[in-house]
Amino acid sequence: MIKQLTAFARELLIYRSALVGIIIITSLILLSLYAVITVPYEEIVRKWNSIEIWEDFPRNAMPSWINIFTHRKLPETIILDSRRKELGINKTIITIASGKYILRILFTFNYIYDDFPSEIILRLYSNTTKQTTTQITWIKPGEIEYILGRKLLRGYESYYVSSDEEFLKKFNANLISKLGSKPNYDLSVNIALFAKEDPSILSRDTVEVSKGEYRVIVDALIGEEDLGRAQVDAKLVVYGKVYGVAGTDHRRRDLALALIWGAPIALAFGLVASITITFAQMFIAAISAWYGKSLDFVIQRITEIFMVLPFLPILLMISYFYKITIWTLLAVVILLSIFGSGVKNYRAMFLQIKEIPYIEAAIAYGTSSLRIVFRYMIPKILPTIIPTIVLSVPDFVFLEAVLALLGVGDPRAVTWGRVLEDAAREAALYKGYYYWILEPSILLLLTALGFALLGLTLDKILNPRLREM
């Protein structure tokens, strides 16, 4: 048995296409194994659909490796959190008068990228219920200082620096007095806080990043009674424009997560659907051909009914009436397909096989019908079935993606199809987020290619009529 298998593998590997197919499928399987072993799928679904987990991730960021190929380096995300002891974070207490203190948080960071950040958010945390007065100062390279705002802090507050219109007004007025004119475009806070303040800032085409050391100071005024008790903390997030290996989507989620955990789902969906449907069809066809008469009639009429039923509309209808998960979707797909056209094809094959001498001989020595079906008829067509199974896996992987794109099935599921659906809904191509569409598409195509290469080669080997001379 093992000897036969190795001989078969050797024959298979003569074909380079099979080798490529096997490499692709093996890497997908390894990726899937890594995924399901490290974090269970349920946890990924919970993580994928939460909002808090992703709040420090940039929105619609491209993959980081883009920077290798471009001249203009896009910014990475910079996160500075005063609750952590890190370089560039400094927390001090300054006495200004008797009984009055300032808790000063100083963030220092180097900004060396060629593009402006996508967003800036400062989150402030305090543990007192009393109001605390805070003041935020932004210092650009060259000691250009701006007071961003004074906030009355109670508990938690998030300060969306990027949308501070008041600061923008002050900044524009300042520019007019300094350079004599206003910029000819809508200057955003992100640009204002990071641009070089010379005439280049006046035009969108020439505006440049002022590279160097930036400092952000958060001052909180606290009374003597709170000294030692009051905790004021801040987290500065300067969102970049690139993230990770796969980038992020409109909800700041790391696409790599969906792409990795989508692999086991795609493989499981494709393999389970393909194997179950093919074997079920084969079994039904064998029963139909073997018993004949009225059973054959009934099975063939049912098959014809199922063949004319519109597959997609029924699936859509079911998904609108019932809340279905990806696994119930799989079950529905299988149920709708087991009486498919395969039943007709396999029945035609079985009708021929039925007349083979060894089956007549088996009838003669009284072998039971079920044994004839399972041990005599089905093994005879297995060689032609195996390539069919392998070749139809991508059909079902694609089907899952198509259904997700049509909005069928579990909206919380983490699949390649869901990523595509999000991208399509957010008009990713129109907005230029090509990576968002291309990444899941390439994975889908690779899967299809892997199974197609292997399936076609298996077909050549197992159906020798097709073998090349």
């Binding site: 004949g292 008469k293 083979i356 001498p357 060894y358 007549e360 001989a361 088996a362 009838i363 003669a364 020595y365 009284g366 072998t367 039971s368 041990r375 005599y376 093994p379 005879k380």
Partner: protein, 320 residues
């Protein structure tokens, strides 16, 4: 002597789109214990249908299946299909099917396949059945370790032996051999024939040997039945038959056998075997018969007994 197989007025008609195929049309014969019978006939004369009718292996389009068949004194036509399968088929009468080189399932090992009739008909457990299968393989001259081989690893002759072993494993008293050597070369054929002879003596089985090969039929048969268009036209003792065939068809058949040394012109029978769909009226052989008379064209000849059990269906012998 005891009759082991007694068939009277057996009919087997098939319905096809063009009409009725009268494959077996009123066949009667007796076969005694320890005797073997050869059923001779051209292709399409109904001899395979006759074999299948005895074993009740009927296709779905059977139109008429009647007559009486006694196997070992038991009227098997009264049995239901299940009873027949349980008590008669393979227990009392088994078969080496046509094209038997292909009669083995390529995905089941020889041993398991050989043991299958025992598991089905003798309710044996698998290991005992396999043990019997080994003995049987040895008996037909195949090394015992072949139980673990698959059919494709065996030569044609070996596969034929396995199929013969399979027919014998339940120790039936009658074995129907449906052209068992037709696909084999002459040497293998000789080998198999010798095996069959040995089995006949050792195991005391009766053969019903279906063949179109007159030379082979002379090897192991005590009785000859010549089939023509669904009927037995002559039923005779083998030694008498070869010396002095009675029916004109038998005579022509024997003279059409090529001989090795003699420079004899091989005769052939003019015309074609009649269609079983619409056999000619009267005697079915009359269009090809050199002695055809008026009555042959009008009336079907009766069965004319020559002595106790031999008979001929020919008007030539009626007037005597």
């Amino acid at each position: 002597m005891k009759t082991i197989l007694n068939i009277k007025d057996l009919y087997l008609y098939y319905r096809v789109r063009a009409g009725l195929v009268k494959a077996v049309d009123g066949v009667s014969l007796d076969l005694y214990n320890d005797e073997s019978l050869a059923v001779l006939g051209e292709s399409g004369s109904g001899k395979s249908s006759f074999a299948r009718a005895i074993l009740r292996l009927l296709p779905k389009n059977v139109y008429r299946f009647e007559g009486s068949i006694y196997i070992d004194g038991e009227d098997v036509m009264k049995l239901s299909d299940d009873e027949f399968n349980d008590r008669i088929r393979w227990s009392k009468i088994s078969m080496v099917p046509q094209a038997s080189m292909n009669a083995l399932n390529p995905v089941i090992k020889i041993g398991e396949q050989l043991a299958e009739p025992l598991v089905i008909h003798r309710n044996m457990n698998k290991s005992d059945a396999l043990e019997r299968a080994r003995e049987m393989l040895k008996f037909v001259g195949i090394p015992q370790e072949f139980v673990d081989r698959y059919p494709f690893e065996l030569s044609g002759g070996m596969r034929q032996r396995v199929v013969i072993a399979m027919a014998l494993i339940t120790q039936p008293s009658i074995v129907i051999l449906d052209e068992p050597t037709s696909a084999l070369d002459v040497l293998t054929q000789a080998n198999i024939m010798n095996l069959l002879k040995k089995i006949k003596i050792d195991r005391k089985v009766s053969y019903v040997f279906i063949t179109h090969d007159i030379a082979l039929s002379s090897e192991i048969s005590d009785r000859i039945a010549v089939m023509y268009a669904g009927q037995i036209v002559e039923y005779n003792y083998a030694d008498k038959f070869y010396k002095e065939p009675q029916h004109p068809y038998s005579q022509l058949l024997l003279s059409s056998v090529p001989t090795l040394r003699e420079d004899k012109k091989i005769k052939f029978i003019p015309g074609e075997p009649p269609s079983l769909l619409s056999p000619p009226p009267g005697c079915r052989f009359h269009p090809r018969c050199p002695y055809a008379m008026d009555i042959c064209r009008r009336e079907e000849p009766p069965i004319l007994y020559m002595d106790g059990h031999s008979y001929v269906r020919c008007w030539l012998y009626a007037k005597r």
